[in-house]
């Protein structure tokens, strides 16, 4: 392994073009990440033809640049506009956007960048450590474990949302939206009304764009003014990014827990970063005692999900490389790039092309650092967005959002979905329903149903099988813990009084 690491490092040093490719990837990744709906997937798809003439490792470097940086760009939009640039940034909105409203956007961005970099590096370190045992890790997660993981996600969701009843209601709506589409287990169409568009169900990205970006713009339109409230625009100079960076170093436990949760969830194929960052957020909000004001601008609410969603990149490479099972759309595209360069993912890839994988790992690590620096350097300019008058910001954000929704699949239906969810999102803000709960339920719903049916088939109808599968049993214990913790906490609080 050291030998391949050495080869990989030499590869970066041997040709300055390699660094140029990496920087190109990073710049494009950040740019596409900032714009809701575009994201890393579109960037990889656009640059794919460009890699034809390159040698495989250069192509990997370029793509690594994009993969490592798009979620970092995405956090900027989440913090400033409450519009997650990429789906995994959704959890960053919770506290990032309230901070912007309080005029602390600079601190939030600084914290997000530092947390992203450290999280990314931790993720890469974990990847290197587990690389030799990737196969057994992937094989640990069968349908029963997937089911329990979905249960864990939904449980922590319910516990974390402040208002239990409204949270549950939003989750139910999310689950119901998740039912729409072709069910390939039952072989039937659900609520598709014979429309080819609804065959694939309601996609996540336009839903996110609607619920967050468009809903936020409707709200801003109704209220008027700028995003940042009660703030003197002359204070723009005090962007406070360095304060944000410092806050990360004084909250290292949050960074570590976020990164570890991100890496582990990232390794599970098909679950993806949205769940990783959300779990990290709810973990942090549950287990932080000191001065807990999560949901109303707690900087740790930015640190935890951002650390997680950059740490997950390292983890999610494991199922992608070792088994060719992409965890997300951009990983699916990245797989295509690998295959085009003659690197077929599978158990042999890690053995035969170890140094190429090392190149990717280094590219990912460098990309997170470079992307954070790019954003920090432009932070002061970016923060101005939050002080702009609504007459300027609303048309701009709406235009970008709708184009983003369309660009995803070049399907007008997605734009309609975004607009409809824009209104739903505004109603949810108005009547105080948690939007993220709906999103996570939408993500997890189909996975939960599918893996439940698979498990029951494997167990031949015997549901106790869930407790005989080791991984599933461990996750079940976490579910119990997540349910018990708030109650125990409350009882202890009462006893202390």
């Amino acid at each position: 392994m050291l030998e391949s690491l050495n080869l990989a490092v030499n590869f970066f040093l041997a040709d300055w073009m390699t660094i140029v490719y990496l920087m190109l990837g990073v710049l494009i990744g950040v740019l596409f990440g900032v714009i809701p709906g575009l994201g890393g997937t579109t960037a990889v798809a656009l640059l794919l033809p460009l890699t034809f003439g390159m040698q495989p490792e250069q192509a990997i470097t370029l793509m690594g640049g994009i993969l490592g940086s798009s979620a970092i760009g995405g956090s900027v939009a989440a913090i400033l506009l409450n519009a997650p640039g990429t789906a995994p940034n959704a959890a960053t909105c919770f506290d990032g956007y309230p901070m912007t409203r309080q005029g602390k956007a600079g601190i939030a961005i600084g914290a997000a960048m530092a947390a992203s970099s450290i999280g990314g590096l931790i993720g890469v370190a974990i990847l290197i450590v587990v690389l030799p045992i990737t196969k057994s890790i992937v094989l640990m997660f069968g349908p029963p474990a997937f089911f329990m993981l979905a249960v864990l996600g939904l449980t922590s969701l319910t516990v974390a949302s402040g208002n239990l009843l409204r949270g549950l209601l939003a989750a139910c709506i999310g689950l119901m939206i998740g039912f729409v589409g072709y069910d390939d287990l039952g072989g039937t169409q659900r609520y598709t009304f014979d429309s080819n568009f609804l065959w694939d169900g309601i996609s996540l990205v336009p839903t996110l764009i609607g619920l967050f970006a468009i809903a936020e713009m409707i709200k801003l339109y109704v209220e008027g003014g700028a995003i940042a409230k009660d703030t003197d625009p002359t204070k723009i100079k005090l962007a406070g990014t360095s304060l944000g960076i410092k806050s990360v170093f004084s909250n290292m436990p949050t960074v570590f827990s976020g990164s570890i949760i991100g890496s582990i969830v990232g390794m599970v194929p098909g679950v993806g970063g949205t769940v990783a960052s959300f779990l990290a957020y709810s973990f942090a909000s549950q287990f932080t005692r000191k001065n807990n004001h999560f949901g109303s601008g707690d900087v740790r609410g930015v640190i935890a999900p951002e650390a997680a969603n950059n740490a997950k990149d390292g983890g999610s490479l494991i199922p992608t490389l070792a088994f060719g099972i992409p965890g997300s759309a951009e990983m699916a595209l990245f797989l295509g790039v690998l295959i085009m360069h003659g690197m077929t993912p599978g158990p042999m890839l890690l053995i035969e092309r170890e140094w190429s994988i090392m190149v990717l790992i280094i590219a990912l690590a460098l990309a997170t650092l470079m992307a954070s620096l790019v954003v920090l350097a432009s932070a002061k300019l970016l923060v101005i967005i939050s002080f702009l008058n609504s007459a300027i910001i609303i048309p701009a954000v709406l235009a970008i959002s709708l184009v983003g929704a369309y660009a995803l699949n070049a399907h007008l239906g997605d734009v309609v979905v975004a607009v409809i969810f824009g209104f739903i999102g505004y109603m949810m803000i108005k009547f105080d329903f948690p939007r993220i709960t709906l999103v996570i339920a939408l993500v997890l719903g189909s996975m939960m149903e599918r893996s439940f049916l698979q498990s029951i088939t494997i167990f031949r109808g015997d549901w106790t099988g869930f407790f005989q599968d080791t991984t599933s049993l461990i996750i079940f214990c976490l579910v119990v813990l997540a349910l018990a913790f708030p109650t125990v906490h409350k009882i202890r609080g009462m006893l202390a009084k």
Partner: protein, 320 residues
């Protein structure tokens, strides 16, 4: 949306065909529709082929890959079938993937037999596999089983259909095999089998290669006429010649009614590209199974695919 795209294609084609004679074709952008998302087998095949076809078509032509994913390929297939037959829209088709919906009693908005077939690019044979650590080491071992669990991609997938036809011919339908479906793709179903969710899975050969090399899977028999592994028989050799034609083909076609002269130009470009040594080398490194047929023969394969699946129609029901 549909009207708009038809209109815009019409406008573009009208603009392009001002005084058009065959020599003017092609001049401009050819849309190459991939009816699946980027990154998959069909996408990589199309992207590998496009630059070489572009080269053969001359300097005035650009081929642009357009991923029109959705509804299990139907959205892209429909888009190609409905586009103007001017030679500027072609697509890559999945056989029998595009045949299956009709066999399963679903309505589709294209007629495969009417398309203007340009050529077949790939043909992959299927392999029946067992988990490496299971007791099933040969086809005979499998036939002796009275309890079989299969992992598969799910209802409507070509892999499951191939699996069902195999079991029907092998006489295994009578043991009521359990199908664990719903995996996100063939590879996920393979990993499911390796993990022990089931004992048996079916896959195209190229996908299975590295798992057989690593010992995670044992091949039991292959479709087609040639052995892939020295010790593993073809179904024909094992006494089941009916299973020989089960395969997965990737063919290129345009909408019905492309004028003969233009179609010939596209067909010639396809044949030139697929005999280009540089393309063949690239395709080999990508693990593609190049097996070229000209346009007429590729079109004939559609009919034989319908014939094959029609014969086994009763075995293709939803196992769950």
């Amino acid at each position: 949306m549909k009207l708009k795209s038809i209109l815009s294609t019409a406008v573009i084609s009208a603009a392009l065909s001002v005084g058009a004679v065959a020599q003017d074709f092609p001049d401009g952008t050819i849309n190459f529709v991939v009816p699946y998302g980027p990154g998959g087998g069909f996408d990589t095949a199309a992207r590998a082929l496009a630059p070489y076809m572009e080269e053969s078509l001359g300097p005035n032509t650009t081929i642009v890959i357009q991923n029109v994913a959705g509804a299990g390929g139907r959205r892209g297939g429909t888009q190609v079938a409905r586009s103007a037959p001017d030679g500027y829209t072609v697509g890559i088709f999945n056989l029998p993937g595009f045949v299956l919906p009709e066999m399963l009693g679903e309505s589709v908005e294209y007629d495969l037999t009417a398309l203007s077939w340009i050529g077949r690019l790939e043909n992959q044979d299927y392999v029946l596999l067992s988990r490496g650590s299971s007791d099933i080491k040969t086809l005979d071992d499998l036939l002796a089983q009275d309890d079989i669990v299969v992992t598969s991609h799910g209802f409507g997938s070509t892999g499951l259909a191939a699996n069902q036809i195999m079991f029907s011919v092998l006489g295994l339908e009578s043991v009521n095999p359990i199908y664990v479906g719903g995996y996100s793709g063939t590879t996920a179903a393979i990993v499911g089998a390796i993990r022990g969710d089931g004992d048996i899975t079916v896959s195209v050969i190229s996908t299975a290669l590295s798992y057989v090399d690593s010992g995670d899977l044992t091949p039991l028999a292959v479709s087609g006429t040639e052995r892939v592994w020295d010790t593993v028989p073809t179904f024909e050799e094992a006494g089941y010649p009916e299973l020989t034609p089960i395969n997965l083909q990737r063919s290129i076609a345009g909408p019905p009614g492309i004028p003969q002269d233009r179609l010939q130009i596209l067909r010639d470009a396809f044949m030139a590209a697929t005999s280009n040594p540089a393309f063949l080398k690239a395709a080999e490194s990508m693990g593609m199974q190049i097996n070229v047929l000209d346009g007429d023969a590729a079109g004939a394969e559609v009919n034989s695919s319908f014939g094959l699946f029609n014969r086994f129609r009763d075995s293709l029901g939803n196992p769950n």
